[in-house]
Symmetry: C2
Subunit: 399 residues, 2 copies
């Protein structure tokens, strides 16, 4: 009988509790609230907390990531959260509602920090983002990061720069006090969102090889070198089709795809995961922020000679109602003219362009291709010369 | 001195009149309201109406298209319009306003018919579309055409099917009366939008070869076989990268690109127009309607063995506010698994998917590629499994 050992989701116990039964009907033994202490790959046995031992023929590791904590005194206090899984979200939701929360400090200005500032500010709660650097989402060009910062400010989200956190203490006016190099600030909730790393403790103790990013090494079938052991999702590596290197980009769509590949191979079929190109996006208030491929830095590290251009265009024909400003940056290789990466920011149309360019990266298209690409044109949805054309032709002239 | 001979745009004369002067400053002699009677390619001379003759070294034909008229009595009456150029739009606008128009009949249910029904109904004017067939926009799958029809009906646009027009007469209650096989109907304006064909009269009389679509034959540099003569835009052919055939798809973005290619070659540079994949779209009320590549019929005519699937998915994650139903149809080749065409219809996201798939057609991607394509995922902008993935994997299983 196949086993599935899942996370604790206390707050939705009633809902989730039905899942194991449902699965059991189909011959799958789903265990929730169950901790795996150790895996013995030689004996092919899983040791659970509490002493039970389960045998396996095939083992799939989908252990995900764990949030990075700064390691400061008081970070374990009630009201200090990280956000990794559904149960975290449910606990935060309950805290926001029941405390009730008047003010939230978010430490970190990456995806989670941006998305949560949108959600929490949207509930009418005073929100501040404390950031180590000077601009949010530093994967993007500083010009685009400034656009994101302006969007935060437009929605009255505070943004504090150059912060080093030192301690969390009990607050006076609010529940908690965050001590930093910049002074002391109080809030009813603190969300720590300074990054994540692959959760590979069990894999490491099993002796599975990890990549330089700390994720579990797999092949294109999601198999680890250990016979009968697969790894999928945020804890595993993926092949990056542009850098030709194995990377760890923990995103839900990649995890979904790798899970399907492993499942098909385990079920007797045959599937390969052809890799990723690094597409990613988030929305913060009314702004779409998206990217694919390599940054200039990553491109140079991979041995390319990157050139880039950044333009501002229109999401649809400039004369039409509903048009939004759209920023697009392209990175290409000087030697081959191939596209290496793209970033986009705008009130609409940013993700759309990035998806088209993700397909271009997948296919190793050059700037010459992109300058003439046959995109669907109609004034209410696009310009005759799309920002993709304009940026590609402009960058082509630089080579 | 380079010449540019343009159309009459009477209604915006004051605006346009400045253009020739502006161009003259840069050394270009722009003639508007000027008719070319004949071109003598041996003598390299252009004969204008009125007797003037202009010599040329290089000639560019950008004669566009002319609307097809049904050839019925009364079609020349005041209040009967076709829509091809800016001056047509300005005349229609003036008519709608000054008559004033209480009711409009649109004959034809293609792009122009759909876009104009949106515009005219949007002005609060009673609008009816009279169509030869039973469903609008017959390039799309009947299921999608039905979605377009439902959108017309939702906005109280009448849709009359199986119509043969016979005459336009003077009306009693309204200005005009349209006589058809279905009876007699009156309106203050009739728009005839039953199609267009390339305007190639001058080219034909010059002895330039025309393709089987009636458009001027050109090479990848936009040169005709006649030394020093180029042709660009709606009057010229384009290479279709999927069917590997020369076609005539009259669209503004293609015309723009071909013009730039010709200009660069004339100016001493070097450019090739790498062809099209047939991307096209329009918006009708709140619906995006888009397509790229070949229909099943066109694919079969081009020697492929088409298979297809049509799915309904979500424009963004199904759980998010703002999600719209999105229909996507894929056509692929059974022998190679390559994508051959795509169609999409939805309240949002249709054009975005078609542009990504246009890039896939450009690159000759297979369904295996599309099933795992790395698209940007975030619930407010997309599902982890995009409709592109779902449709591609579904169609792959059919092969």
């Amino acid at each position: 009988m196949p086993y599935y050992i899942g996370d604790v989701i206390k707050d939705e116990k009633r809902l989730i509790a039905r899942t194991p039964e449902k699965f059991r009907e189909t011959g799958i033994d789903v265990r929730i609230d169950t901790r795996v202490e150790e895996i013995d790959p030689k004996a092919r046995r899983v040791h659970l907390a509490g002493g039970e031992t389960l045998p396996y023929d095939i083992l799939v590791l989908g252990t995900g990531t764990k949030p990075i904590l700064p390691g400061i005194p008081g970070e374990e206090r009630e009201g200090v959260f990280t956000l990794k899984k559904l149960s975290d979200a449910l606990r935060i939701k309950a805290w926001l509602k029941n405390v009730p929360c008047r003010k939230v400090i978010i430490v970190g200005a990456g995806f989670i920090g941006m998305e949560m500032s949108d959600v929490i500010r949207g509930l009418g709660i005073e929100t501040q983002v404390f950031h180590r650097g000077t601009l949010p989402v530093n994967r993007w060009d500083p010009e685009f990061s400034k656009t994101v910062l302006a969007e935060l400010e437009r929605h009255q989200v505070g943004f504090v720069t150059g912060v080093e956190v030192r301690a969390v203490e009990e607050g006076k006016q609010y529940r908690l006090r965050l001590v930093t190099n910049r002074g002391e600030d109080e809030a009813d909730m603190i969300l720590i969102a300074v990054g994540i790393r692959p959760e590979t403790e069990l894999a490491r103790r099993m002796g599975l090889p990890l990549g330089k990013n700390g994720a579990i090494r797999v092949n294109f079938s999601q198999r680890t070198p250990e016979e009968g052991v697969y790894a999928v999702g945020d804890c595993a590596e993926s092949f990056h089709r542009v850098s030709r290197d194995w990377v760890n980009i923990p995103l839900g769509d990649i995890a979904n795809k790798q899970g399907r590949v492993a499942g098909r191979n385990i079920g007797g079929g045959s599937a390969v995961f052809p890799g990723i190109v690094g597409s990613q996006c988030f929305k913060v208030f009314d702004l779409e922020v998206a990217a694919t491929g390599l940054t200039e830095r990553e491109a140079a590290d991979s041995g390319f000679r990157p050139v880039s251009t950044l333009i501002w265009g229109n999401s649809i024909a400039g004369s039409m109602p509903g048009n939004k400003k759209l920023g697009l940056k392209l990175v290409a290789d000087r030697a081959t003219g191939k596209l290496l990466g793209a970033q986009a920011v705008g009130g609409a149309g940013a993700v759309s362009r990035i998806n088209t360019l993700a397909c271009a990266l997948w296919s190793e298209l050059t700037l010459d291709d992109l300058g003439w690409l046959d995109l669907a044109y109609s004034p209410p949805v696009a310009s005759a010369w799309d920002p993709i054309h304009v940026a590609a032709q402009q960058l082509r002239r630089q080579i």
